[in-house]
Amino acid sequence: MSDTPLQPFRASFALLGWLLPGLGQWATGARLRGVFAGIGVLGLLFSGLLVGGVDCVDRNEDPLWFIGQVCAGPLVIAADVANTQLLKSGRAAPLIAAAVPYGAAMNPADVPKISSFKGLAHSNEFGTLLVFLAGLMNLVVLLDASIRPSNRLTRRTADAGTRA
């Protein structure tokens, strides 16, 4: 229930919010809201990347997670590109042979190679989860920006924008 009429959905503010979390609120005039929303979403994103490394964003190996993660904006796409260009290519760290499944007979040349910086267990799980949460929270934030009444004249009014 809101005290002020909400705007119809405005894709431009949603797009701004996707480009940089909180930018949509900033553009509507609710600058303080935008700053705090941005800190929240980017805090989750960078916490995830710090804990799991860029390997926790992987469009090919974790496509379902990536769908949620990419809602956090182009930074996630940059992390995926960094994962491919730096880790999977072996430029950042040497590639090592992956463990062969027990009982499987494999030609040593066919054993897949993985980066020695690849995240495993808790680091990969938490990194993936934190970046995914960043994407989901940014979805909430950019949807809010897309229907928030725009008020550039009085920033305080916009920051106090009444949403129940």
């Binding site: 809201r33 929303a37 805090g43 804990v51 680091s123 990194g127 909430v140 934030v141 106090a160 009444t162």
Partner: protein, 88 residues
């Protein structure tokens, strides 16, 4: 142990390499996670921004309390109640 941990932290390349020794302190990640989720959510929901920090801290505590409650409940279920069931 401490020396090994210090050396692995010194050798760590942030953002490229996973954080070292995460198995020791993974549970502590729930605190920044709850705080950042509450910040992003309350930034869109509070009526007045003067209430922002109070609402954020309240929601952070609620999230952490719910997670601890679920953890305790599951621990009791697995370690106390289930062993009491007949073995057959």
């Amino acid at each position: 142990m401490t020396t090994t941990l210090c050396m692995s932290i010194l050798a760590w390349t942030p953002f490229l390499e996973p954080a070292p020794a995460i198995a020791l302190w993974w549970w502590a990640l729930a605190i920044p996670m709850a705080l950042f989720v509450a910040m992003a959510y309350k930034a869109t929901r509070v009526k007045e921004m003067t209430d922002f920090w109070r609402a954020t801290i309240k929601m952070t505590v609620q999230i952490l309390a719910a997670m601890i409650g679920i953890a305790v409940g599951l621990a009791l279920l697995i370690q106390v109640l289930l062993p009491m069931l007949p073995a057959e």
